[in-house]
């Protein structure tokens, strides 16, 4: 009798655990699937917008207004043959694109899409983001090394040097924001911006930050990894079909992710001061965050359409000789103002 009772209890526990795991899985799917969809639409937005900048029509055949183009592209690439170069290091050759995809998708785990609407309300959210963006370098480095092709190797060297250099600008710009908020949690950062968005007092810092994320995601004018005229396709010259899709997904996912983080850090995230009181049925907060993210996604494509590419030595000297000293000056200036006028806001 007692034995039977414990067995029922164990079965109950097992059921509860399984239900919990399923609920977690649904939560994760609720984040990952929209992210993948937004990445797909980011590619079509880029093509459409570039076309508009150049007064072309852009893709408009597949689906209404060309909206199904990214899905057709993805399906085509999945059905293509994966070519593994005979001289390459096979394991690293596949591990590099996979790690790129993983590290850029994992960043979405802590983004708050509304009040308390995040996968994890992590108290060290900023450090998590910085750590993942640092780890993103490994995909590039491993891809260039494992493919054993001179174009891939040179592309990965340049790209790695650029990414790690601009990582400094990124983390020092974020440090300045942390000085004003006193917390590494994204929710706190958003709540503090209820009164004023950080883009207003910190406009110069925002400009450095945006230059840094352009370089961090390897976009024009810093896309030296894929300087087509010299390096064919940079570090993923040898990658085809699904490994190529992973690099592509990783790049565009990090564009959308960094746009989202920029909206959170500088434009007040899901808050719109004093305009909306959120008591409606529709959750306006997520829509507001989405619109703010779209502004920065637009900027990314706009810069690609406008600016020419820098030379490699110009890129490194711009970072180390121009941007970094000014960033260091700001790191001293802003806490000095805060301490001397007793303005520390937390």
């Amino acid at each position: 009798m007692i034995k039977k009772h414990t067995q029922i209890k164990m079965n109950n526990n097992l059921t509860i655990t399984i239900i919990n795991i399923l609920l977690n899985l649904i939560d994760v799917l609720c984040i990952v699937l929209p992210v993948l969809l937004s990445v797909a639409f980011m590619t079509i937005i880029e093509r459409k917008q570039l076309a508009a900048h150049q007064r072309r029509v852009g893709p408009n055949i597949v689906g209404y207004y060309g909206l199904l183009q990214p899905f057709a592209d993805a399906l085509k690439l999945i059905l293509k043959e994966t070519i593994i170069p005979s001289q390459s290091n096979k394991v690293l050759f596949f591990l590099a694109p996979i790690s790129t995809l993983i590290f850029s998708l994992l960043g979405w785990g802590i983004i708050p899409f509304g009040q308390g609407l995040a996968l994890s309300d992590f108290s060290l959210g900023i450090l998590y983001t910085l750590a993942l963006s640092s780890l993103g370098v490994y995909g590039v480095l491993l891809a260039g090394w494992s493919a054993n092709s001179k174009y891939a190797f040179l592309g990965s060297l340049r790209s790695t040097a650029a990414m790690i250099s601009y990582e400094l600008i990124l983390s020092s710009a974020i440090l300045i924001i942390i000085l004003l908020t006193g917390s590494l949690n994204y929710n706190t950062i958003i709540e503090i911006q209820q009164s004023v968005w950080f883009i207003i007092p910190l406009l110069p810092v925002f400009i450095f930050y945006f230059i840094a994320i352009l370089a961090e995601t390897s976009r024009t004018p810093f896309d030296l990894q894929e300087a087509e005229s010299e390096l064919v396709a940079g570090f993923f010259t040898e990658h085809s079909s699904v490994p190529f899709v992973y690099f592509f997904l990783g790049e565009y996912s990090s564009i959308v992710l960094f746009s989202c983080i920029t909206a959170i850090l500088f434009l007040g995230g899901y808050n719109l001061p004093e305009v909306f009181v959120n008591n409606s049925i529709i959750n306006l907060q997520s829509i507001i965050l989405g619109l703010k993210t779209c502004i920065f996604c637009f900027f990314f494509v706009w810069f690609r359409a406008t600016l020419p590419r820098l030379r490699y030595d110009q890129l490194i000297e711009l970072c180390w000789l121009n941007l970094l000293p000014v960033c260091v000056a700001f790191i001293i200036l802003i806490p000095s103002i805060l301490v001397s006028f007793d303005l520390v806001p937390f």
Partner: protein, 123 residues
């Protein structure tokens, strides 16, 4: 099991599943010209890969290591600026002055500039 942990399991699963889909659905007929290293227009020249590269990239990586560490060491100060007030802040400034001296030395030694890297003592 929390949500973040689930994400850590789910995303690699997704990556490997898509790769598995490709293995199942796509044709695999490698031949010699497909699997050889990419080259523009002519056949592959051997011995051009895994060769030496300029030490500039390595220098940039080492400098990054130091500077990133120093900036990350300032994060605790940034979080607790109110508690540590003027004394903690002045200690932070001293830390930053040391960093700046190192930075000036590094720019002066020409470690950053790629163009005259082969003549580091050029005045």
């Amino acid at each position: 099991m929390n949500n973040l942990l689930m994400l850590f399991f789910f995303v690699p699963f997704l990556a490997f599943a898509l790769l598995g889909l490709n293995v199942l659905l796509a044709t695999h007929k490698p031949d010699e010209s497909k699997v050889s290293a990419y080259e523009c227009g002519f056949s592959v020249i051997y011995g051009q890969t895994r060769s030496t590269f300029q030490i500039h990239f390595y220098t940039v990586a080492i400098l990054f290591l130091i500077f990133d560490l120093e900036i990350l060491l300032l994060f605790p100060l940034a979080v607790t600026l109110y508690q540590v007030s003027t004394f903690g802040f002045s200690i932070g400034i001293v830390f930053f002055i040391v960093l700046t001296i190192g930075f000036v030395l590094e720019i002066g030694s020409g470690a950053i500039s790629l163009t005259n890297f082969d003549q580091p003592n050029q005045k």
